[in-house]
Symmetry: C2
Subunit: 200 residues, 2 copies
Amino acid sequence: MMTLFEHPGSSNCYKIRLMFALLGVDYACVTFEHAKSHNRSSEFLKQNPRGLVPVLEAEGNYIWDSTAILVYLARRFDGESWLSVDGLAMSRVMQWLALSQSEILHGLMAARHIILGKRRGVLEDAQGLGRVALGVLEDRLQRNNWLASEGPTIADIACYPHVSRAPESGIPLDAYPAMRRWIARVEELPGWVPWTPRAG
Amino acid sequence: MMTLFEHPGSSNCYKIRLMFALLGVDYACVTFEHAKSHNRSSEFLKQNPRGLVPVLEAEGNYIWDSTAILVYLARRFDGESWLSVDGLAMSRVMQWLALSQSEILHGLMAARHIILGKRRGVLEDAQGLGRVALGVLEDRLQRNNWLASEGPTIADIACYPHVSRAPESGIPLDAYPAMRRWIARVEELPGWVPWTPRAG
């Protein structure tokens, strides 16, 4: 049984829970109350010196970083639909994984955290970076149903969490009709689970 | 012939030039004087709405993002030595690619740019993040010659540029002996080329 070390508020941890759910694969969970390393046990830090969740314990290994874990799950539990090994197809997936860890994380997530009072920063700068991400995504989704391929890949799973909550970053999605259709498409995938469990 | 759109001062562009050199693959270069999008032609931006270099034109596609391009080159011109397609092995490479685009970029590179007066920011914060990256790398390299595998992979190529220039980020490498041996190992790889061409 694989074990996911996670924090409920972390979007990077949610990506992994969502991927497990979509693959229909069982796993155990160790939940940390805080997302920062100083709350971690020294035993955990010995396996994960970077000090961040998510970390996946699998096959006797500790895999840290959400992108690395998404790649692992796609390769381990799927043929090539969630991640092709063809050079060009794989690089297309990687582009969106990179966007999710740069403009989306340092733009959309940062803006959301500034608004929530979780971190300091210049809101307008973060929102500006977030809008670059949304523009690139909308451009792609106006011509395609999914980000990297004809069907869903781990690229969609990596970008979806903060994009779907862009209004919490102070950026309404009215100007992005293709993106709203894509968000609905992700949420209709068999096995989809919400980030924060909904009441009722 | 593939074409690399690049900026000479960009570490992410250097990674691609280094990878091409190590693979012994020929390519054409289009060099931009500035690294920011507002200096780009609208034609270039149409192919690369993110507005950043490096971008590689290959097989009629524009591949943006350095990680995506490294993955493309490794899969296209190599068997599996630079990037294995095994789930666990691939996830190990991805971990270090993620570190290169997070703690190294927002720590080491940011500190270097603050010192050079190229950007604003809190130097101590950037250096702190950079030291997290160096600690994780040193820990790994004390037990292994290369980051992700028994031999060099694209993980080493992605982390090497800013790590080798950590002193320019205000962080001497005296405390990191394993890392200094690894830097020498990278620079002894057949085909290695320097970031900034050296005189004589």
